[in-house]
């Protein structure tokens, strides 16, 4: 177990026969990186670089941390501008991409709604319509004003919450970091958000499983991935019951309520984990029919939407499948 410094996370680097595995905790989940052995590798160095990068990303963009940049922006809502760095500007552009790619189903300014429902869960009381409307009226990414140097949240009470896309963006950025360091073969897995680069072994793509809803640990499909990402969204595990009704954990900022499709899970394959993540969440919020149409309209993107009893797949999803669990 290694520790980089006081404020950074511990991590472990295990060296198996065929590859090294880096493990650490971030984004509230287990994170891992598989690196097949090759020449001129410095595994200790790259492990430190990855963990440090993720740590810095979380420190800056987590809304839960008092001293994060996002918290500073949220506390300045309606009052004053906050300066931003080049990296912040990139993240804000990714947030804009998220908002529009999801057709406003994922709104990075949804903090008022997120906080309302978190409080509701804690006190076990469903918010009333007025409370939801009040929170919804503070949620609109198009009211977030930012340039290359400054950001301003136009109304008091507005707030940024990058939880809807931050982890997936981090996967893409870590992949970019690894490629810039000369690594072409690796598998990143941040709590089920995955990017597979190159091959696991000679002429063998990386193998990744998609879980069947309500059957933990049982893969519905095993996929072969090469230079593609896989992200999944589902409410079958993360839900809460209140006032005799089941609510999924995915919030729809367009309605102000958690999704009604609480029994679905959506898994998307595309060249970007961010894009896969956005589409999987949007499919979950839109339902099977609209979700499938969305997937089919995208280039180099395949996916499946599962419920407990059925599974819908896009046209070329089976190009990636090497195993399917029979019904």
């Amino acid at each position: 177990m290694a520790v980089l410094g006081e404020n950074t996370k511990p991590y472990s680097l295990r060296k198996d026969e065929q590859c090294a595995q880096l493990c650490f905790q971030a984004f509230g989940t287990n994170c891992s990186l598989l690196l097949p052995y090759s020449e001129n590798q410095n595994l200790d160095f790259i492990s430190e670089q990855v963990v440090l990068w993720v740590n810095n990303f979380e420190q800056r963009y987590s809304r839960y941390l008092e001293n994060s940049w996002v918290t500073k922006v949220n506390l300045s809502a309606g009052k004053n501008e906050v300066s931003i760095t080049t990296e912040d500007y990139e993240v804000l552009r990714a947030a804009t991409f998220t908002f529009f790619q999801s057709k406003q189903a994922v709104d990075p300014s949804c903090l008022p709604l997120t906080q309302l429902w978190q409080k509701a869960k804690a006190i076990k009381s469903v918010p009333n319509e007025n409370q939801i409307l009040e929170a919804r009226n503070l949620v609109n990414w198009e009211w977030v004003e930012f340039t290359k140097t400054k950001i301003f949240l136009a109304q008091p009470g507005m707030g940024l919450d990058f939880g809807g896309f931050g982890k997936e963006l981090a996967v893409d950025k870590v992949a970019e970091l690894l490629k810039n360091q000369g690594y072409q073969r690796f598998l990143i897995n941040f709590g089920g958000d995955i990017f597979a680069s190159g091959e696991a072994d000679k002429n063998e793509a990386w193998r990744v499983g998609i879980e069947k809803p309500n059957e933990e640990g049982q893969p519905a499909y095993v996929l072969k991935l090469k230079n593609h990402a896989l992200a999944s969204s589902g409410n079958y595990r993360k839900f809460f019951d209140m006032s005799k009704k089941r609510y999924g954990h995915t919030l729809d900022p367009r309605t102000g309520y958690p999704t009604i499709h609480s029994d679905l899970s959506a898994s998307i394959i595309s060249p970007s984990c961010l894009k896969s993540g956005i589409l999987s969440t949007t499919c979950l919020l839109s339902g099977i029919e609209a979700g499938m149409r969305m997937i089919e309209a995208e280039w180099d993107t395949e996916g499946c939407i599962q419920s407990v009893n059925s599974s819908c797949t896009s046209n070329r999803f089976y190009d990636y499948v090497i195993y399917e669990k029979s019904a």
């Binding site: 529009f100 963006l169 893409d172 950025k173 992949a175 970007s272 961010l274 180099d300």
Partner: protein
């Protein structure tokens, strides 16, 4: 590609040699084969014409196309991944289109009038067309003034899988004149104003999704209105000294999106003995690109997620809107089984080349076209 084939269908109907008040049966088979396993189209045409009483006649033309292959999707070829060098192509499994054209005509000493109804059906495109043509004959049929109106009413499956409408009305005015027993000329002007969903759902633009480290293909966005002017001229002459007919045709078109093109064609036809005839032709086409054509990778902008065809911005990487030239050389052999029964075989070679200095030459296809035909007038 679909519009090209609908026009080919109408051209086949309009410009084949027709009898006047005779019954006729025509059939044709055509194969369009692009090099490098690109697009392959097989077409079967059959047409029948029946003369009725008092100058009335009816015609029916049926066609079936089956097409498959690979077409550029908008990704510049050099951006394809090393692991998939054909990433810039959309592979299309076989699609079948069925179409029919029904024409009812009245021919008198002074005028001819025809009404056409056409229908074309394929899984993602449904089209109906209506046309009315009137020709007034003067000076013992040596001067004919043509006018016409047509409407194409289409339903296209857009990028989201919804069927949306587009229509294309066309007005035309023309004149044909026989100058002497060996020479005739023709001129025609037409004006079309299509509107509706004019983008191609299979064509996209390459977009740099930075800070996401990928190039994505976003749907293209063409304006939802267009105006097209076409000028056509033809001169035909029989050269008695070599017993051959020659035709020269020139066509110019331009639209309000800066797209314009010139076509120049020369054709020679000669009979050879009692039973044979052969024709050769050369066709040259050059085009200037539409203002919104851009094959290069563009930066992601939020309007690309929900493009607006009314207000823009407009963008397309469809190479058919670029500046390019094409040349076609053709050879056709006809054999007269009897005076009124002909079989023919033809071969065309089609070359294309980009001319903007930016678009990758790989996207421009060359093609071989094979045709077999049969015609019987009775």
């Amino acid at each position: 590609m679909r519009e090209l084939w609908v026009c080919t269908l109408l051209s086949f109907h309009l410009f084949t040699d027709k009898g006047n008040g005779q019954n006729a049966l025509r059939a044709k088979y055509r194969e369009w084969l692009e090099d490098d396993d690109r697009v392959e189209v097989r077409s079967w045409y059959a047409e029948t014409e029946m003369a009725l009483q008092e100058g009335w006649s009816i015609e029916f033309l049926g066609t079936i196309d089956s097409w498959s292959g690979a077409t550029p999707n908008g990704l510049p070829p050099e951006k394809s991944k090393a692991s998939d060098p054909n990433e810039w192509l959309n592979i299309v499994s076989e699609e079948v289109r069925k179409a029919g054209l029904f024409t009812c005509s009245k021919n008198t000493e002074n005028y001819s009038l025809s009404f056409e109804y056409g229908i074309s059906d394929e899984p993602d495109y449904f089209s109906r067309s209506y046309a009315l043509q009137y020709a007034h004959k003067l000076a013992a049929d040596t001067l004919i003034i043509n006018s016409g109106f047509s409407l194409q009413d289409d339903s296209v499956k857009n990028i989201n899988g919804d069927f949306v409408g587009k229509n294309n009305p066309t007005l035309s005015l023309g004149i044909q004149r026989v100058l002497d027993k060996f020479t005739s000329i023709a001129f025609n002007l037409s004006y079309s104003f299509p509107s509706g969903y004019l983008s191609d759902p299979y064509k996209r633009i390459p977009v740099d999704m930075s800070p996401v480290p990928i190039i994505n293909l976003e749907p293209e966005n063409r304006p939802d209105e267009r105006e097209i002017f076409v000028f056509y001229s033809e001169i035909s002459r029989y050269l008695d000294w070599i017993k051959a007919g020659v035709h020269m045709r020139y066509r110019y078109f331009e639209d309000n999106h800066d797209l314009s093109g010139h076509t120049l064609e020369f054709e020679g036809i000669k009979k050879w003995g009692d039973h044979w005839a052969y024709s050769t032709s050369y066709r040259f086409y050059c085009q200037k690109q539409a203002f919104f054509y851009n094959p290069q990778v563009q930066k992601f902008e939020t309007y690309m997620i929900s493009p607006n065809p009314t207000t823009g911005p407009y963008y397309s990487a469809d190479h058919r809107l670029s500046s390019f030239e094409s040349q076609t050389v053709s050879l056709k052999l006809s054999y007269f089984l009897q005076d009124d029964m002909i079989i023919d075989a033809g071969f065309d070679r089609y070359f294309t080349q980009g001319k903007d200095g930016v678009t990758d030459q790989k996207v421009y296809p060359d093609a071989n076209v094979f045709t077999l035909g049969f015609q019987w007038q009775y």
